[in-house]
């Protein structure tokens, strides 16, 4: 394994690990706030129990997200010093803002977790809202920096150096809006559908359990709208990518030959030597319509770019198709849920719906990993699209396979423990006696 590949792999593992926790850190606070609000309105103690459990889960996951995020901020310099030397002054600002948002989230999560019997109900709910707002803000800031790597603006390139640096223009880069929107919706969809799916599984076993019924309802309230809207945001993303990163779009669609009436290739495997997609179902003109809303539009294919500037087409194509397939399934389940709500049917006793929903539980997270693969691998061989190559950004430090293996083992270990803990803390059905004993309202000792 070359040092460059080891560095890329370490970054991929770190980000792939962190993104899960970051996403949950954005989504879970919303669930917990909705549950708390419902408790305050209805007085139903199950909602309070849910808010407390979800807050606990958020705390565990936020802590892991906080440490893995700290690792990432170091890794930018440990693995990609040349990139940071170039990019720091331009995209340091969103990272600084993210730091503040993260800090706010940590502070109010502390207040929320340990403040149940110390502050008024209103202040407590407000603390939860602050956690949710700062969580989504920090996600937006980080994705803004990533969007800049895809469509760098805010500087002039003179002799390999950035001059006339303008950090605000760097933040407001052309990809910023669609990427942050897509990621935020993804966070709500993955978390909401994920939690709802877990409770759907438990309802299939224990159909009358009021705890799981309430949990499913609250989680769907957050996850379903996001999942239903996500395909629209994805379509918009595709159009922006077509305009600013044509090589990435060509790799996503395994579109080898430039031309009008470009097809969408459903499924299939890109044959890199023959430069065609095998075993795919083509939809003629589909790509032209998707990218430019016109069946006769010319879509640039990979033939427009030197072979050395191609991303890894099979990986990008496969990851893209996977993301779209999972997202579509989730959107269908979300619309189904909406339809059932419209017809005033009970979700929790509709077994076919529960089955469909339990299958969807992990899909949002897999789709996020796949989508992140599309955007990162699809940007290669560039770290900053069209400006700095990944091979030039990597550290001169030799033997990078060692830190790669160390951090991979560390992350696997952490991942296993987190899953085990969450299972014991959150998913297990509470016995009624347990929650009535442990959580009497304000004034009692808890946490």
């Amino acid at each position: 394994m070359s040092d460059l590949l080891a560095a890329r792999s370490q970054m991929a593992v770190s980000l792939g690990f962190h993104i899960i926790f970051a996403v949950i850190g954005i989504g879970m606070p919303v669930l917990m706030v909705v549950a708390e609000r419902r408790w305050q309105k209805t007085g139903d103690p199950i909602y309070l129990e849910l808010a407390k459990r979800w807050a606990k889960g958020t705390a565990i996951l936020f802590a892991v997200g906080a440490v893995s995020g700290t690792v990432l901020s170091f890794e930018l310099g440990l693995l990609w010093p040349t990139f940071m030397r170039f990019a720091g002054p331009i995209i340091g600002m969103p990272f600084s803002l993210e730091g503040f948002a993260f800090f706010t989230e940590a502070i109010f999560l502390g207040v929320y977790l340990y403040g149940w019997d110390r502050i008024s109900r209103r202040a407590h709910l407000l603390a939860g809202i602050m956690v949710a707002v700062s969580g989504v803000a920090s996600g937006i800031f980080v994705v803004t920096a990533n969007a800049w790597m895809n469509s760098p603006t805010g500087f002039d390139l003179v002799g390999g150096r950035a001059v006339n640096v303008d950090p605000i223009a760097g933040m407001l880069n052309p990809m910023m809006f669609q990427q942050t929107l897509h990621m935020t919706l993804a966070a709500y969809a993955a978390t909401g559908i994920g939690v709802a799916g877990i409770h759907a599984v438990l309802l299939l076993i224990d159909r009358e359990n009021a705890f799981h019924r309430r949990a499913l309802a609250v989680a769907m309230m957050v996850g379903a709208p996001a999942a239903a809207l996500q395909p629209l945001s994805g379509h918009h993303s595709g159009q922006v990518v077509a305009r600013y990163q044509p090589a990435k779009l060509a790799a996503m669609e395994a579109h080898f030959r430039t031309g009008p009436r470009a097809p969408i290739e459903l499924g299939g495997w890109p044959d890199m030597d023959a430069r065609e997609v095998r075993y795919a179902i083509p939809i003629p003109g589909g790509l032209s319509i998707l990218a430019f809303s016109d069946p006769d539009a010319v879509v640039e294919g990979l033939d427009r770019f030197p072979r050395a500037d191609w991303p890894n087409v099979p990986i990008v194509h496969f990851a893209f198709q996977l993301m779209v397939a999972l997202g579509t399934y989730m959107a269908i389940v979300a619309l189904w849920a909406g339809w059932l709500a419209w017809r005033r049917q009970d979700h929790a006793s509709h077994r076919a719906f529960l089955r469909a929903l339990s299958v969807a539980a992990p899909m949002g997270f897999i789709a996020i990993e796949a989508g992140w693969t599309v955007t990162e691998v699809g940007r290669q061989p560039w770290t900053i699209y069209g400006v700095l190559r990944t091979a030039d950004a990597v550290t001169p430090m030799p033997g990078l396979i060692v830190p790669f293996l160390c951090f991979t083992v560390l992350y696997c270990f952490l991942g296993l423990i987190v899953v085990w803990l969450l299972y014991h803390q959150i998913a297990r059905s509470p016995r009624p006696t347990e929650w009535s004993r442990r959580y009497t309202p304000a004034g009692a000792s808890s946490a």
Binding site: F74, P81, G88, M130, P396
Partner: protein, 343 residues
């Protein structure tokens, strides 16, 4: 002060955020040290006090390190790039320590089912609390030593190991560990209403305070060879004498306050002591941010970036400081045996 260069202001803020990390984050690490060394008839209760003192706050305390990192790569990208390259090994090890310590702590507090599992997490937490400060100190010592030059092609050891694996850097590593332990002991005296428990921490504080002195003298003795630039400044600048007098007086005053059980006074004093140490290091390096060749102005990002960074800091501070005060107020208005944290 219109003629105060922006780069200097931001470098000062960078130093301050490092000082804040040492002060708050350091106390959390030190808590881990005392968790490891808990002993005597009140062993279990000592650990309880430590866990309760750290729990609501340790993630928030982490932010000072992140702030320092972000300021470094936004405002002094050249410095950040070189630190990441030359200090790759100690920084990676420190990161592993930070990850293990943070997660072990949270797992220990949630993994309530089994006592054995709790103990296992406790050990990971304590060992990581011991190793991480040493590594942080080694990195700081390496910066002060003025040996962090861009690695020449070829040799791994001269490029990536020798710059930081020096007796001076190790001495600074030990000094950092003793300072963290000292801070934690001083803060912990105020975290309990039980005078016997407070006395346990007082005794530990006195021992750690003496250890800080020993480590500091060891570092000073190694400095002429290990960190000549900093050493010269600490001996011959105009501010050197008053600085040593003030630092020494504060250090003695903290020990005296501990001795006479004036815990609040000791807490204020120990904060000043940390400020003196970090401030002295920063002043001694000035105008270099990364000796031997990178100066604050020379390594700074364009003015526009610096100005924006300052605006973000002020605006962010306007949201954060009240929030932080609120957090402390909520947890200070309660029995100290359960929650709360010094500083």
């Amino acid at each position: 002060m219109p003629d105060l260069p922006l780069a200097d202001v931001l470098a000062a803020i960078l130093a301050l955020s490092l000082a804040a990390y040492v002060l708050f984050g350091g106390a959390d690490f030190g808590g881990g040290v005392w968790d490891l060394l808990a002993s005597g008839p009140r062993k279990a209760r000592q650990r309880e006090v430590i866990a309760h003192a750290i729990a609501p706050i340790w993630e928030a305390n982490h932010v000072w390190l992140i702030l320092a990192i972000v300021l470094a790569f936004t405002c002094f990208p050249e410095v950040f790039a070189r630190l990441g390259t030359v200090l790759h090994i100690p920084l990676s090890l420190m990161l592993i320590g930070i990850v293990l310590r943070g997660s072990a702590f949270i797992f220990r507090s949630y993994d309530t089912e089994e006592l054995k599992a709790q103990r296992r997490w406790g050990r990971v937490f304590a060992i990581a609390s011991l190793a991480t400060p040493v590594l942080l100190g080694v990195c700081i010592g390496a910066v002060a030593s003025g040996r962090l030059v861009p690695p020449a092609d070829g040799d791994f050891v001269t490029g990536f190991v020798e710059p930081w694996l020096t007796p001076f850097a190790l001495a600074i590593g030990l000094m950092t560990l003793t300072i963290f332990a000292f801070l934690a002991a001083v803060f912990l005296t105020l975290e309990t209403h039980d005078p016997e428990l407070a006395d346990d921490f007082r005794r530990r504080g006195l021992i750690a305070g003496v250890a800080v002195f020993v480590a500091a003298f060891a570092a000073l003795a190694l400095a002429p060879h290990g960190a000549p630039l900093v050493q010269r400044a600490l001996v011959s600048s105009t501010w050197a004498m008053p600085f040593h007098l003030v630092t020494g007086a504060v250090a003695v005053a903290v020990l005296a306050a501990l001795w006479f059980r004036k815990y609040r006074l000791a807490r204020i004093g120990v904060g000043m002591q940390v400020l003196c140490i970090v401030g002295g290091w920063a002043l001694a390096q000035y105008p270099y941010i990364l000796p031997p060749d990178l100066t604050v102005t020379g390594a700074a990002a364009p003015d526009r970036t610096l100005r924006l960074a300052l605006i973000v800091l002020v605006a962010g501070g306007a949201i954060l400081l009240p929030s932080l005060l609120y957090l402390f107020r909520v947890f200070k208005s309660s029995p100290a045996d359960r929650v709360g944290h010094g500083g």
